[in-house]
Each structure stands twice: as structure tokens, then as C-alpha cells.
Symmetry: C2
Subunit: 400 residues, 2 copies
């Protein structure tokens, strides 16, 4: 059966070129970068070169790139690392974030709330965009960290990072805090990730969202940032993240970022056209459909399409699509096993019912017009099938 993978925002297939680059590091150049021998030095060189590749793409210094095992770990390091460090001078640190962050930012912050830390969650409008004035008002002398998702993983909304960075910078007026962290896991393959253009202090990027291997990510940490580790041991990664470095994964991550970066404009252009085509046809088929996310395509990464099929339960829809080889997703992968509806869609003002009727299609480099035309052919069939089965009484179905 034909398989159309439209869950690229959850994870991407590994690029064969990346796998080829990694290959020698499994069994041949397999040394431990901390070992004082030739195999160790070879391994260390591979890491250094990968770090340099990534640093150049980010316009950063090599030592500002800290490899972690996941974007989740990088986000946790940003949140806990900054707060732990700030506790030494500030007894009541406050954190500002948004209502539409990924769980890997929200959950560490919730954990800090349990320990008495103060927080502010910026709201978003119905397009999923934050308000600059709300940030201005939320900033106070206790604020140590502002953490904002660059491109949202569920709806693709792009926050105005440069403007937000400017507000933070103007507020701090040369003082240490607050630091500005962005989660660019979903943005890295589409948007400008030059840290100085953006004006950020910390930035998370992830390998398995950009056709690299799972199990590796990085946190950019601007030189001079006061941050403590969350994992302690041999002192690797400039003391900020201990553990034997996963050399093959790091090599693969750097290669993946290099490829994604070189193809960025072309990918964006292709995916924008594909999305426009898809949505135009979709509206013809489903005139009542709600498309979630920014109205201006410039405010949205081109690979994410979030749709509400009113009255249709998203699990049913996904199961039916699965049967036709179409692999989509309900919101983020990490929430898809939860009973709660998407916190992102709720923050944008959708009802619980609407959130539960929403699915995400996320395009990849491999996605073609033929793939989407196939989806357009199947969608009406499966929607009709579900309506025939359950009627459009989602409320009764769920709440009784």
C-alpha cells in the first residue's frame, strides 16, 4: 500500500546522506572522545568539526554549541540551568513563557512552580501569535528567563523573535537578566537561525526534526551566559553536559543541519506552493473547514497544516487515514496519547470539541503534489464514512 508520511513535524526520516556520513563512526572510528589515545583524538576531532559546522550555520562561536540528547533535554537545560544559576543572586526568580510552548518547556516550568517559583504565560491571539505589549508588561526585575517557541509545532505560527529580543534587551539595559531563550526545534529547517540576527541568548535545535538521527540536539548558549548543568559527571561539553559524547549522532546532526540549511529556500518555496495548492482544493471540498494558524503565510512555517473538521473526532479521522496509508497526527506527537485536547488550540480560543476535531498534516522534503492530491481524494471518503458511523454528534460521543 502507498504510504504518505505527513507527520514530519513529529519526526523526519533520516537522510541517507546523513547515514553515510555517520557510518564510519560506529565500528571503525568508534573511540571515546575523552580517551587519551589516537582513537579518542579521532573521535574528538569528529565532534569538534561537527560543532564548528553547526556554529558556522548559527553564526556562533564553537564553544557556544552544547550537544544534548534531545530538544527536550536542551529546553530543560535552558530552563533549569538559568534558574539554578540565578538562584544564587535572586531569591525570587520569575520566568516568562507562552501558553503555546512545547511540553519540554512547559513541564520544567510547572515543576519550578511546585517549588515556589513565579511564572507568567503570555497569551496568544486566535492566529497563535503573542502580543509584544504583554511581554513588556510582564517583564519585571525578578525575571531571569524569557522562553518562547520560535515556530510552534502544532500550528506553525512564527513568533516575532527579533522584536521580542529587542524588548528583552531594552528592558535589561546591560544587566545580566533576563536571558532570552527560543525553542527552534521546528524552525531550524525553515527560518533564519543566525543567533545574532535574532538577538537570542539561548536556542534549542533538534536533529530528528531535520532529517538527522534521533538522540541528539543542541543548545546554543551565548558566551558569558550564567548557566548550570542539569547532568553532572566527566565534564564534557565545556562542563555543561556530562556523558560520553554520542559521536555518530553528533556527526549526523551536523551533516543534517548542513543539508537542511543549503536547501532551506528551495524547501520553503516548494512547501509554500504545496500548502497553497492543498488548502485551496481543501476549501472547495470542505467549505466549512477551519484552518488553524496565522492568516498571513509569512507568519507560518510552510510545512505545517492544522485543520478542524467540526463534528469529527480526530482519533477516528487518523485511524481512517491510516487505513489508506496516510500518516498524520493530532497536534504534537507528545500530547497525542493524552486525553486532554491540545493546549495550543485551546490557547488560540478553540473549544475543547474543536480541538478534539483537529489534525495536523506536516510536510517533509519528500512530500509531493501527488501525495497531497491523494489525501484530497481520500479525505472526503473517510470524513463521510465517520459521519455515517457516528453522526456529527461529537459532544454526546465524548461527554456521555
Amino acid at each position: 500500500m502507498r504510504e504518505i508520511y505527513l507527520d514530519n513535524a513529529a519526526t523526519t526520516p533520516c537522510d541517507p546522506k546523513v547515514l553515510k556520513e555517520i557510518e564510519p563512526y560506529w565500528s571503525k572510528n568508534h573511540g571515546n572522545p575523552s580517551s587519551f589515545n589516537d582513537s579518542g583524538r579521532e573521535a574528538k576531532k569528529a565532534i569538534d568539526q561537527s560543532r564548528q559546522k553547526i556554529a558556522r550555520i548559527l553564526g556562533a562561536k564553537d564553544q557556544e554549541i552544547i550537544f544534548t540528547s534531545s530538544a527536550t533535554e536542551a529546553n530543560n537545560l535552558a530552563v533549569f540551568g538559568i534558574v539554578k544559576s540565578s538562584k544564587k543572586t535572586n531569591p525570587q526568580p520569575q520566568i516568562i513563557t507562552t501558553q503555546i510552548e512545547h511540553q519540554s518547556v512547559l513541564e520544567p516550568i510547572k515543576n519550578l512552580e511546585n517549588w515556589g517559583f513565579k511564572t507568567h504565560y503570555l497569551s496568544v491571539n486566535k492566529e497563535g501569535l503573542v502580543d509584544l505589549d504583554e511581554l513588556k508588561k510582564a517583564l519585571n526585575p525578578e525575571t531571569v528567563l524569557v522562553s518562547i517557541i520560535y515556530a510552534n509545532n502544532e500550528i506553525g505560527s512564527i513568533q516575532p523573535i527579533k522584536k521580542l529580543a529587542k524588548i528583552v534587551k531594552e528592558f535589561k539595559k546591560g544587566s545580566e537578566y533576563p536571558y532570552f531563550h527560543i525553542d527552534a526545534a521546528q524552525a531550524a529547517s525553515h527560518l533564519d537561525i543566525k543567533v545574532n540576527n535574532l538577538g537570542v541568548d539561548l536556542m534549542t535545535i533538534s536533529s530528528h526534526k531535520i532529517y538527522g538521527p534521533k538522540g541528539v540536539a543542541a543548545l546554543y548558549v551565548r558566551r558569558g551566559t550564567k548557566i548550570e548543568p542539569i547532568i553532572y559527571g566527566g565534564g564534557q561539553e565545556f562542563g555543561l553536559r556530562s556523558a560520553t559524547e554520542a559521536v555518530p549522532l553528533i556527526v549526523g546532526f551536523a551533516k543534517a543541519l548542513e543539508i537542511v540549511n543549503s536547501k532551506k529556500q528551495m524547501t520553503n518555496s516548494t512547501q509554500e506552493k504545496l500548502r497553497t495548492h492543498f488548502i485551496k482544493k481543501l476549501i472547495n471540498l470542505f467549505p466549512e473547514i477551519k484552518i488553524n494558524g496565522p492568516e498571513n503565510p509569512k507568519d507560518q512555517v510552510p510545512h505545517i497544516i492544522n485543520l478542524t473538521f467540526s463534528g469529527i473526532e480526530n482519533e477516528q479521522l487518523l485511524l481512517q487515514l491510516d487505513k489508506h496509508g496516510i500518516l498524520a497526527s493530532a497536534g504534537s506527537a507528545c500530547t497525542s496519547r493524552e486525553i486532554e485536547p491540545s493546549h495550543v488550540l485551546i490557547a488560540m480560543g478553540l473549544s475543547k470539541e474543536a480541538a478534539r476535531s483537529s489534525i495536523r498534516l506536516s510536510l517533509g522534503r519528500q512530500t509531493t503534489k501527488a501525495d497531497l492530491d491523494y489525501v484530497l481524494k481520500i479525505l472526503p471518503e473517510v470524513v463521510k464514512k465517520i459521519e455515517d458511523l457516528y453522526g456529527s454528534n461529537i459532544k454526546e460521543y465524548y461527554y456521555n
Copy 2:
């Protein structure tokens, strides 16, 4: 040039059978285990099966296996996770460990000391073995965790885990604390790792020490253990370790453990013979050489040989061995870039000079008698060369 890799305690080459097992999970079955679609379910199945494989080998329940990115992370999770959880009921938790732990246990504990926590470091005798009575005396009602390295990574000494577990069990008399954690990263390929035989509550095992991929490890956590995460987010790994699971690595880790487990007896028998042969010949060549570690081979994992060449600086020796394709190591990989001499050898009573004159040769499954005979041929040459260059005045060389 011939290359003889004798740094297997730092990291092992990845088994080609493991790589073959992993292969489909990079680009073909590449789904996100949290995604509600077929690719996600396939990925989840692969993780579940790997978890089950590992659980069976450990004699554990599936849900007691928590995948992490490294043994370092697993050790950090054990230490911080238990202490964080215990803080709710115990304002002054104390931790007992040994003077010869890996940095990934020592450093988290040192970090806790900075926050005011109490600690006790069990001493070791000149063979690198702890004293049961010292543990008995150190235990007190505030003790929440006892963490002990099963087989030491530098000298290979095997601690009497069953006896230590019995002491902890008798002390706690059915109460919650203390929990007993062991770091079995270096032990897993050689010793009994059935958790119920050992009587442990938590156990760390690592993939890249047993011919599996780097970037994955696991913490066994006995059901009912009160432990909190150190990384928060999507709630993967039963809420104990968030992040998109590194499916290929997890699959490879399980395969590697399966292979290592099936070959354990044979490997031990081969390596014991190789080590006996090597040491016998070595003593003939260097009658004054000091062999560090337990006297009784039963108290030492067979793959580790730690040697002191008095008057010879270990960095020089390693560099010379490198030139002949012999890849050895100075103590653990993680300390080899430090200026401080090995804390393990110092704890055993060696002088700083002796510790700085010590190297570790660690055998692998691929090591042959011919390899070791080559080392025996080269060692006298390189030792003589260094003595000719520097004399045996290591003290002056270092401390002036």
C-alpha cells in the same frame, strides 16, 4: 599499521549484528513512538520489544526499565531523582557512596553537597574493595540512597553487591529508605545482572560499553521506588524521562545486551586466560611492576588490567604506545583530560606519582592472544625509550 584497541572499558566498537538490527529504524520505520498513526505504533512496538528483551535479561518487569541517553544520565537520575523525591518527607537526606565511583555518581553528589546535603564516602582497601562494616556504621535514619559501583571502571574491582544489599535491607527493615543503587555500566558484559539475585533497587547499564550504539543507556527502577524525573516534557518512559525516544539506539542497545549476555561465560573464560597469560609474561619483563586491583581474580572483571610503571609518566607511555598502534588509556576516559591523578588509585593508597605512572589496558571481545603478545613485545621498547628520554625522575618532571 596494526591497531590494537585496548580501551574497551572506555567504549566498545559497535557490533555489526547490532547495526544490522538498527538499520530499518533510521529511514524506513522512522516514526515517533508518541504519534497516533501506524508509523508511531510501529516505533512504539520496537521500543516495547526492546524494553521487554532487556527486562527479561535483568529478571525485571518491563515498566522497571527506563531508557536514558547515557549511563551518566541514568546515574544522575538515580541520585537526583531519589533525593528530590525524599526531600518531601526528609529535610536532611544523607547519601552514602564510595570513594571510587565514576564521576557521573560523584559529581551529582558533590553538587548536592553544595546545596547542604550530607554525604558519606566509603573507603576502599588497597585492592579497591569496600568494607561491609563501614557501610553498617555509615547507615543512619536520614540515609535515603546508597550508590555503589558494581565493577570499577579503572581497576575492575567487583564489590560484594549481594552482601551490601543485605546490609541495606536489614537496616531499612521494611521502611522506604534507603534505596540501593548500583552502577553496572562496566559489569553488564561480565557479571550477574539479575536484579533480584543482587537485591538492588536501581541499576545503571550502558549500551556503548557492551558493543551497542553510543547515546543510550537504561536505569532499572524497582516498582514502587519513589523517584522524580530530572528531565520533564512529553512524559515518555512512564513519566520518568521525557524526550522523543531514540528508537534505533534503543533497538540496538537491546540487541547488544542480548548478544553480550549469551556470550558472557565464553567471554569471561577467554579474557581470564588472556589476562593471566599477559600478566605472567609481563612480570617476567618487568619484575617491579605493580598490578592494581584485587588479588583474587574472582574479585575483578576479566577485561581490565591496571598497571603502574614506576617512574614512567603515563601520558608519555600512552603516546609511545599509540605510535605502535596500541590504544590504551590512563584510568577512566572521563578523567583522562584532567590534571589530577586518578581518584580511584589514590583511594586505594597509591601515591600521586604512582597514580600518574599508571595505565589501563581493557580487553574486548575482539582482543586476541596475538594482540597481547604484540603489546608484550612493544612495552619494553617504549618504556626503555621513555627512560632514556626523561630518566626515571617523574617527580622533578611533574612538580617543578
